[in-house]
């Protein structure tokens, strides 16, 4: 028997229209607790793209790539340029956004001039004045990547620091002495909290696998089924872990 939860998460699951750095952190955290198949997922991705472009200092354009049956596509973009750069990557079936989505790792390009392995991406990005980029895998409740967030920048030096910080964050190293702009810090805080959320859900899945003698896939289904529609999976996962310790 899985204990459901409605005690947290409801408020953070609605995309926030306000254009504040804090809203970006909340949107990233909310995504981590959302079931992968939630109908609210596209709206969350759109919010994250809009906020990333609006509040993260070095970023000029942003977009988000998702996998679809017919191939990768851009779910949302803050500017036509971002979508064009994504399309160049889909056309070659290669580029940082696809690598990030498929490998579930961040892919930073601190200086586009040095790129050799993705000529389509490089040439189109260059045409739009982009000189650096960062693609970040985003996770929803199951822990598998649901999207790749693409951040495109004209300013190489500002983007370099953001790339280093995000890569460190995804490598599990959050210690940093460099302080970035408020938007970048909220992006980093949101990504770090989302990863911790993912850890918590994965631990709860492990408990379910052991307790109910099921593999990880069915364990995830049970977690989703035990969560009230519109609530965060994180709440249910916390309840499972609390229940287990009592």
């Amino acid at each position: 028997m899985i204990v459901g939860s409605t005690d947290q998460g409801d408020d953070v699951l609605s995309p926030t229209p306000e254009q504040s750095p804090e809203a970006l952190r909340r949107a990233l955290l909310a995504l981590a607790g959302l079931p992968d198949e939630s109908p609210a997922l596209p709206a969350h991705l759109r919010t994250i793209v809009a906020l990333s472009a609006a509040v993260v200092g070095p970023v000029d354009f942003a977009s988000v790539t998702v996998s679809a049956a017919e191939g990768p596509r851009t779910e949302a973009s803050s500017a036509d340029a971002a979508e064009e750069i994504d399309l160049a990557q889909y056309a070659e079936d290669a580029g940082p956004c696809l690598t990030a989505l498929r490998s579930a790792t961040t892919v930073g390009v601190p200086d586009l001039a040095g790129v050799v392995v993705w000529p389509g991406f490089r040439d189109v990005a260059w045409r739009y004045g982009v000189r650096a980029s960062l693609s970040i895998p985003l996770f929803a409740g199951s822990g598998a990547p649901v999207a790749g967030l693409n951040l495109y920048a004209r300013d190489v030096s500002a983007m370099r620091q953001l790339i280093q910080r995000v890569e460190s964050c995804y490598a599990g190293d959050s210690a940093s002495t460099t302080r970035l702009d408020a938007g970048s810090e909220q992006l980093l805080a949101g990504l770090a909290e989302a990863l911790r959320c993912r850890d918590l859900v994965q631990r709860a899945l492990g408990v379910l696998m052991d307790r109910e003698n099921v593999a990880v896939g069915p364990a995830y289904r049970r977690l989703v089924d035990a969560t009230t529609s519109g609530s965060s999976l994180t709440g249910t996962a916390s309840a499972i872990l609390r229940q287990h310790l009592n």
């Binding site: 850890d199 696998m209 052991d210 003698n213 593999a215 310790l245």
Partner: protein, 237 residues
């Protein structure tokens, strides 16, 4: 493009003075192609082919003739510049009128006024490979000394490409970061399984994982994967 006029020694010295961290790969390859076209005896036009995942493109060229002859090969997925890229060998086509290995392409080259060509594979072992292509007007345009000069230019293109790879790999992210991210979910699942079995905290579960890892001389990730696989296996029984 006129026949070569530059001294190869001077041209190679000029290349050696270029700092690879100060020019883009495309600029460097264009300089290699341009200097080679001026210095390799018999050269009319020169290009550089790059190939990734069996897709070829011309990264630098000194004239449309070279680019078009390259692109036909990419479209047809066959030709000396692709084969030289794949093997790293120097492929010489001394006479297009009798060329048997790539007859259709040779016919096309001949029609474009190219009687002979060289494709020199760039000797690197990376996900992107390439070739320096030298096109000559008459048949037998390249004698052995000319081939040797062309190979020296190809070496510069290879160094530029290898350097760009180093830069690319430094630019993207370290393998250990990818490893950390890949391991993270499975380690948390394993911690949950141990927590379920032993009714312990996440920290205690991780301490046990680490101890098993040390005792058995296996990575924590491998221990975690084995635990998760065991749970999945027992679920099927």
């Amino acid at each position: 493009m006129s026949e070569p006029t530059a001294d190869p020694t001077h041209a190679l010295a000029e290349l050696s003075r270029i700092r690879l961290d100060e020019v883009s790969l495309d600029d460097m390859l264009l300089r290699v192609a341009t200097l080679a076209s001026r210095s390799v005896p018999g050269a009319r036009e020169v290009s550089v082919t790059l190939v990734r995942a069996q897709l070829g493109w011309t990264a630098a060229f000194t004239g449309d003739l070279a680019r078009e002859l390259d692109e036909w090969q990419y479209e047809q997925q066959r030709g000396p510049c692709l084969d030289a890229s794949a093997s790293g060998d120097t492929l010489s086509l001394p006479d297009m009128t009798v060329e048997q290995r790539w007859p259709q392409w040779a016919q096309r080259a001949r029609a474009a006024g190219v009687g002979s060509s060289l494709s020199i594979g760039l000797p690197i072992q990376e996900s992107v490979v390439g070739a320096l292509n030298v096109y000559g007007g008459p048949a037998n345009a390249f004698d052995p000394p000319a081939v040797a000069v062309a190979e020296q230019f190809a070496a510069y293109a290879a160094v530029a490409l290898a350097n760009a790879h180093l830069y690319d790999s430094a630019a993207t992210l370290a393998e250990q970061m990818q490893e950390a991210m890949r391991s993270r979910a499975v380690i948390e699942q394993a911690k949950g399984i141990i927590m379920g079995e032993r009714r312990c905290t996440p920290d205690e579960a991780f301490a046990l994982l680490s101890k098993i890892s040390q005792d058995t001389n296996r990575k924590v990730r491998d221990v975690a994967e084995a635990l998760v696989a065991r749970a999945a296996q027992s679920a099927r029984v």
